[in-house]
């Protein structure tokens, strides 16, 4: 017999034996995985942002299948159609979740908030926060070193080189909240996106008295309370020299925007978005 025949027979023999072994293993050692996990995972955004509280999208899918419903779980990055599709996989109907968007409660741009010091340490917000530094007099505002931008998996947060602070693109923002967790000063909040047209928020986090806040930043909330008085819906409250607009009560009349003496209240139009 020629060498070719011998090699062919040996190869065929090895192939046969291995296929039998593989068949046996796949029959007896099979790990049962719910096919729904795979289906749900495909529907999820796959960014592994961690906004849901699980390590990643597959963990979220596994937890959802194990629970059998989406009760108490939410993927902020999913649209409501996607969520109902996931619920359909589980054989349930989705309760609509209000989509959210992140906003920066600071408008301390280079021109609004003059720098009084030079920071030469590690260019990360979390490290600068330990040093208690920041380059301006405000100890509440945005550092502009971009911990939030690094945390955002959707490219929605950028540090604008002109303003020196974080800019959040509401079109790209999915409301997962990763930036809010990453911010060491906790000045990024999530607010609902659904209500018609506009959104108002106080773009300042300074809790010092008006005089001190104003000295450190031109557009600081000085806690004067004018917005609180002018609001017809009781949506604004001033605590610790800082106004806060409750998005649930706000009817977007825009009176506060005109009233604010330091222009600390901001708005964006969802229609444009």
């Amino acid at each position: 017999m020629s060498v070719i025949w011998i090699s062919l027979i040996i190869l065929a023999g090895v192939g046969l034996v291995t296929s039998v072994v593989l068949f046996v293993v796949s029959k007896f050692f099979v790990v049962e995985q719910d096919p729904r996990i795979g289906q749900i995972e495909k529907l999820l955004p796959g960014a592994n942002c961690g906004g849901c509280g699980f390590p990643g999208c597959s963990a979220f899918a596994a937890a959802a299948v194990e629970k059998g419903s989406l009760q108490g779980m939410a993927c902020n990055a999913c649209s409501s159609e996607k969520l109902s599709a996931i619920a359909a996989v589980l054989g349930k109907e989705a309760v609509p979740v209000e989509p959210k968007v992140a906003v920066l409660r600071c408008n301390g741009t280079c021109s609004n908030r003059p720098a009084v010091a030079v920071y030469q340490g590690v260019r990360r917000c979390s490290v600068a926060n330990i040093a208690g530094a920041g380059e301006s007099m405000c100890s509440y505002g945005c550092f502009g070193f971009g911990d939030c931008a690094a945390a955002c998996k959707f490219g929605a947060v950028t540090i604008c080189p002109e303003t020196g602070i974080a800019t959040i693109d509401p079109c790209k923002c999915t409301g997962c909240g990763a930036c809010a967790t990453a911010c060491p000063r906790g000045i990024i909040s999530l607010m609902p996106k659904t209500k018609p047209d506009k959104r108002y928020w106080v773009a300042c986090s300074n809790k010092e008295k008006g005089a001190i806040a104003k000295r450190s930043c031109a557009v600081a909330c000085i806690g004067c309370g004018k917005c609180e008085k002018v609001c017809s819906f009781g949506a604004i409250s001033v605590t610790d020299n800082l106004a806060l607009i409750d998005p649930a009560k706000c009817f977007q009349c825009g009176k506060c925007l005109d009233e604010c003496p330091t222009k600390a209240i901001q708005r964006y139009d969802i229609q444009n978005v």
Partner: protein, 450 residues
């Protein structure tokens, strides 16, 4: 002379002690004094005066009510103006008591305070009474850490104390506050040491002084010639010898185990000379902690000086007394150049922990651009705690808190030796501080869960 030193790590830093020959000068009494309620480690003091109240020099204005806290006394005679927020070192604002000086009236002191200069070295009080007086006087560690002294003097159960080490090392470059105090008030410091030895029940004490202060070493040797149980220990000049653990190692060759162990676990209490002087004043003269010696210096400062100043004076006024801010200033530090904190607001009041104000020129203070780690291990050699700073910094940059904790991040004393020796100018201490903060939080969370 044989010079002892600590065994592990440490670096040579240029001295730059421009004020070492300057005597202590008094500065003016401020018109407004500001007393932050939290100028010590532990819980903030609770104000016990109201706006409008008249206070004398030495009147108690805030009480340290919890175990780890300290009293605060007025350093001027006048009226409480308000209790409001004042700027503090980290840039934030914290509650403080503002007192306005009564300029019309002659300065009036609390009647109990003995203002005579006569030396009183007899002390018939019991240890408890001494510690009580220290507590009432609001004395904290004046080396800079501001640990309440009465807490330090009550060692935990099971700790057998045998020695007291007085810290006259002052290893920070530029600063000479302790040096000038040692030269001016040696007799009072020795009386203070005797009082402390009595309160602690120890039979031996040592005064550690670095070799760059030969006049202080000679003076204390002369004063203590006939005294057997207080020994002057000349130490080799090496930073950070003034660190508690390094000093214990240098003087007694004892190693303090890792936290939560404290020096009392190896039988030692360490106190700064300025604290000892304040203790003498409190116990023998009933004088609370209302002033301290502070060095105001810098390479191009017009009149670098050692001032004795009332607490609560603004840092700005202190700098004005030294000739104002020089043109080339790049950084103003609260404390020495190694461990001091930069200030961005000079309205910060001087507190118990202000040992010096250093105005560094821009050429000295500007950081070099960071380069890659070349694994030269100079930071490892320099670390007095035997850590590996390059590894800790890398762990912090990767948010790998488990590695950081395992590699002993919490034992770091933040002396800054690693960063100042790094030939690649890497911001090692920045990362380590950040990591310490994070890991500390994780450990606290874990303890709460337990």
């Amino acid at each position: 002379m044989i010079f002892k030193t600590f065994r592990k790590g440490g670096i040579e830093v240029p001295d730059n002690k421009m004020t070492k020959d300057r005597q202590i000068e008094p500065v003016q009494i401020p018109d407004i004094a500001v007393f932050p309620l939290s100028q010590h480690i532990g819980a903030p003091a609770v104000p016990c005066v109201q706006p409008g109240d008249k206070v004398l020099v030495g009147t108690l204005i805030a009480k340290g009510e919890s175990f780890m806290s300290a009293n605060i006394h007025s350093s001027i005679c006048g009226t409480v103006k308000k209790i409001d927020k004042a700027p503090c070192l980290n840039g934030a604002y914290a509650p403080a008591i503002y007192i306005e000086r009564d300029k019309e009236r002659e300065e009036e002191w609390e009647p109990a305070i003995d203002r005579s200069e006569t030396l009183a070295d007899e002390c018939s009080l019991s240890p408890q009474e001494i510690i009580g007086k220290i507590k009432d006087a609001g004395i904290v560690g004046l080396g800079g850490a501001c640990f309440p002294t009465h807490v330090k003097m009550m060692p935990p159960k099971g700790a057998e104390l045998d020695s007291l080490i007085v810290n006259g090392v002052e290893c920070e470059p530029y600063l000479t506050a302790d040096h000038s105090l040692m030269l001016a008030h040696s007799a009072e410091i020795i009386a203070g040491i005797r009082i402390m030895m009595k309160a602690l029940g120890v039979s031996k004490s040592y005064i550690g002084i670095e070799a760059n202060k030969p006049d202080a070493i000679a003076l204390f040797r002369k004063e203590l010639k006939s005294c057997k149980n207080i020994k002057v220990v000349p130490l080799k000049k090496k930073y950070p010898q003034g660190g508690e653990k390094q000093l214990i190692d240098a003087v007694l060759h004892r190693r303090v185990p890792n936290p939560p162990a404290i020096p009392a676990n190896v039988g030692v209490v360490v106190e700064n000379v300025a604290t000892v002087y304040a203790i003498y004043q409190a116990v023998q003269k009933n004088r609370p902690l209302i002033d301290r010696v502070v060095t105001v210096t810098g390479n191009s400062v017009a009149r670098p000086s050692n001032f004795i100043s009332r607490l609560g004076i603004s840092v700005n006024l202190l700098i004005e007394n030294a000739g104002g801010i020089p043109e080339d200033t790049g950084k103003i530090l609260h404390g020495g150049p190694m461990m001091g904190k930069p200030m961005r607001n000079l309205e910060i009041p001087m507190t118990k922990g202000t040992s010096g104000i250093v105005l560094l020129p821009e050429t000295v203070s500007t950081r070099q651009p960071e380069q890659n780690c070349i694994r030269c291990a100079m930071c490892v050699e320099a670390c007095p705690m035997g850590l590996e700073p390059y590894l800790l910094a890398q762990a912090a940059a990767d948010s790998d808190w488990e590695t950081a904790e395992k590699e002993g991040i919490m034992t770091c004393i933040e002396c800054g030796c690693c960063q100042s020796t790094c030939p690649s100018f890497r911001p090692l201490l920045d990362w380590v501080r950040y990591s310490k903060n994070k890991v500390g939080g994780i450990i606290r969370q874990r303890n709460i869960k337990k």
